[in-house]
């Protein structure tokens, strides 16, 4: 595949017909959460899009994000998108290893300086650089080095976007997110543990299609996917509004598919596209399977207390605090009350009799 080939040409060369391309564009529009009326625009843009070089760096991660993306073992539209980019470095997926792999990375960085897309999954340890290294290079150094020539950085997964599980208390490695270290490049966060696969490809497709980064929210997440909360798009929302809740995982409410708020659902504070895009080829999403949302696309979800406690409940033991306060209050109140009584008694004791001669003020 030549680097100068347009996406249209690449697809045609693979035997994809116009009809196939149309189907591809329709699926891509759906994937990018764009309205179907955008299909012709996408088709025109993709036709002439150049294949960008993509360098994928994996740091403190579990490979779940890559798994999510590559879970399909046959060509999919996401697969096609990947086929149409030049994935020049991905140490899990690439065939090359060792110094050959690193050389490929360095070459790609050099050749496409200022143009390549840097995809990062995993957080970066800032404590001891030795916690995570690739070919003897610390994660931090590699990131900072690779970021220099990147056109944009896509932080895939909650670890790269917000620190994630490695940053959970007490954060032994001093894990931080990409945006904690890189400040001078456009960063697109695609959080989720893992992110929905089409969201990753959707962001790449958007970049391919329009050459720009999509509109982001204040956490640098693409608004197209993270613009609405799970709660807002949840099909169980009417039950919340009616006050019908499952109290346990096996009660009547759970069987009837009532709202999981009381079982700790973080839907109201979680912004993601799960409720519409869904998982596993649009089969379902956690709430549909009867499990509360964990809030995995939100910063700090890993330290948010139990997954199964409702978000409006306190994280500390309040009843104990209240009992102690009543006790302390009783002691303090009795003491202060006694002081008041003593003060009052003093006034009573010191009372000087008022007679009719004590009424007139000397004028």
């Amino acid at each position: 595949m030549s680097k100068d080939e347009t996406l249209g040409e690449a697809l045609r060369r693979q035997g994809v017909t116009r009809r196939g391309f149309l189907k591809f564009c329709a699926a891509t529009a759906s994937m990018m959460a764009l309205p179907p009326s955008m299909v012709p625009v996408i088709a025109a843009a993709l036709e002439s899009a150049r294949r960008p070089s993509v360098i994928w760096l994996s740091f403190q991660e579990c490979t779940g994000c890559t798994e999510s993306l590559t879970r399909s073992h046959s060509p999919t539209v996401e697969g096609l998108i990947f086929d149409s980019i030049s994935l020049d470095y991905h140490h899990t997926l690439q065939a090359a290893s060792g110094s050959a792999a690193e050389a490929a990375r360095e070459t790609a960085m050099e050749e496409n300086h200022g143009k390549y897309i840097l995809v990062v999954d995993g957080s970066i340890p800032t404590d001891n650089p030795g916690y995570s290294t690739i070919a003897g290079i610390s994660n931090r150094d590699m990131l900072e080095d690779a970021a220099k020539g990147a056109a944009a950085i896509v932080s895939v997964g909650t670890c790269a976007a917000f620190g994630g599980i490695p940053a959970a208390k007490p954060n032994p490695t001093g894990a931080v997110s990409v945006s904690d270290l890189v400040h001078d490049k456009p960063i697109i966060n695609v959080p989720g543990c893992p992110p929905i696969p089409v969201v990753i490809t959707g962001v790449l497709a958007h970049y391919l299609t329009f050459g720009t980064i999509p509109e982001l929210d204040d956490l640098k997440r693409p608004k197209a996917y993270y613009g609405k909360s799970i709660h807002d798009r949840c099909y169980r929302r009417p039950f919340y509004d009616k006050g019908l809740f499952a109290e346990t995982f096996d009660d009547e409410g759970a069987r009837k598919g009532w709202c999981l708020y009381k079982l700790g659902c973080k839907g109201p504070t979680t912004y993601n596209a799960c409720a519409t895009v869904k998982w596993n080829e649009g089969t379902s999403f956690p709430i549909e399977s009867g499990h509360p949302c964990l809030g995995c696309s939100e910063p700090g979800f890993w330290d948010g207390g139990s997954f199964y406690r409702a978000i409006s409940t306190p994280t500390e033991d309040l009843s104990k605090a209240a009992v102690y306060a009543v006790g302390a209050g009783a002691v303090a109140g009795v003491a202060l009350g006694a002081m008041n009584r003593a003060k009052k008694q003093k006034s009573v004791d010191a009372h000087e009799k008022v007679t009719i001669d004590d009424l007139d003020k000397e004028k």
Partner: protein, 422 residues
């Protein structure tokens, strides 16, 4: 001992503040509803006359002395102490603009008994030398002469002679072992001797034995109005001594509002022990006689009558049904004023206001409230059971050019006594 002072006043405040006062101040949300319940506000529209505001210095002392926050602020020197000037400014609010009628206490949504607190606040005001001159004078006369109006025994004896001549009935003085010892207010002695005559007639018909003490005939208690418990107690003690000396079963409080409050409700608390005798209001006695069939009347008043509930007898005293039942005997056309009973509007002269010449114009101005209430029923006769109310009602009606006779309930009943005695 050494004359009035701010220290004495503030000490008295501290002494007076109790659990109810603390609960009341704690609960006030400044909703302003007490203003609309107070004739001194509704007729002047002066926000300083809002009942709860009249207590501001007392509230400050409570906050600075008896609350954790106030004490902390005081310790840090961040609170303004109550000054003598301040108390001076409040004198007019606490004495001239409040009759202790307690209407605000009925309205307050959080249940503050504001009149209860004004009564307590006056203790400090008097000790600090901020009582009105008129009340000081009345109080001095009450202690030294025996009556706030300066009525002495010879004057009473002269009146008794006249009444005995008019009625042909004996007015027993200092008779031991009788059922009742009757008290009189100075106003009744000087202005309304008909009341004493009425008592003689009614008791004669009912066969009740009674007397008047030459040592304690005065019912009123300036000590309560000015707010000096020691003086009030001294005045109550005179009655207690006389009643015990004459070994009477009960003492009758006359047609006077605050006299009833003083002897019936405050009396035992002032002298520090329960009485050995009962204290009853004349209306309670009359109603009891009616019930026993010992009070018989003939004929009815044909003009349209209405009844003014004296605050201290009705709302603050609990005598509400008796006057209605009595009026039923003698009134053909009786109408209730709007808000009669516990929510009745004060005439404007109680709680020492009538003894305070400085407040004369104000009390006549606020009488407008009573006028409106009277206008609503178009009565032809206004009955009441308090000599102080009666004098002020007459004055007010004259001021507002209203031609309406003011009647004493006891006297009106006496006029309708059945002649034949069985």
């Amino acid at each position: 001992m050494s004359g009035p002072s701010l220290q004495k006043g503030l000490a008295a405040f501290k002494e007076q503040i109790d659990a109810p006062v603390a609960a009341f101040f704690n609960s006030c949300m400044h909703c302003g509803m007490c203003a609309d319940a107070c004739l001194f506000y509704t007729e002047t529209k002066d926000p300083t006359r809002t009942p709860i505001y009249k207590l501001e210095p007392l509230r400050k002392v409570w906050q600075q002395e008896y609350t954790f926050w106030g004490r902390s602020m005081k310790a840090l020197g961040m609170s303004k102490p109550v000054t003598d000037e301040e108390l001076g400014q409040w004198e007019e609010l606490v004495y001239d603009s409040c009759t202790l009628c307690g209407r605000c206490s009925m309205v307050c949504p959080v249940g503050n008994d504001i009149a209860y607190m004004i009564r307590k606040m006056r203790e400090g005001m008097a000790a600090a030398g901020h009582a009105p001159e008129g009340l000081i004078g009345a109080t001095k006369r009450a202690v030294t002469i025996g009556s706030p109006m300066g009525v002495k025994l010879p004057a009473l004896q002269a009146q008794i002679r006249h009444i005995e001549e008019d009625t042909g009935l004996e007015i027993p003085l200092d008779r031991e072992g009788v059922d009742y010892m009757c008290l009189l207010s100075s106003m009744e002695i000087m202005n309304f001797p008909e009341y004493t005559a009425a008592l003689a007639k009614i008791f004669h018909q009912a066969g009740v034995t009674w007397t008047i003490s030459s040592e304690a005939f005065e019912a009123t208690n300036s000590g309560i109005q000015i707010g000096v418990s020691e003086i009030a107690a001294e005045l109550v003690q005179r009655i207690v001594d006389a009643a015990e000396k004459l070994k009477v079963k009960a003492v009758i409080s006359p047609e006077c509002g605050h006299a009833y409050m003083a002897i019936r409700w405050e009396g035992p608390n002032l002298v520090g022990k329960p009485f050995d005798f009962k204290v009853v209001h004349i209306l309670e006695v009359l109603d009891e006689l009616r019930e026993q069939g010992r009070l018989k009347t003939t004929g009815k008043e044909m003009q349209r009558l209405t009844y003014h509930d004296p605050c201290q007898i009705a709302r603050r005293g609990g005598v509400l049904e008796q006057p209605r039942r009595l009026l039923d005997m003698i009134a053909d056309d009786f109408v209730e004023m709007p808000e009669a009973g516990v929510m009745n509007w004060c005439c404007g002269a109680g709680g020492g206001v009538s003894s305070n010449e400085r407040a004369d114009d104000l009390r006549l101005k606020v009488f407008n409230r009573k006028k409106a209430q009277l206008d609503a029923v178009q009565a032809e006769g206004l009955v009441s059971a308090c000599a102080n109310c009666r004098i002020h009602l007459e004055e007010g009606l004259e001021e507002y050019h209203m031609d309406l006779p003011v009647l004493s309930l006891t006297e009106t009943i006496a006029e309708h006594l059945a002649e034949d005695k069985s």
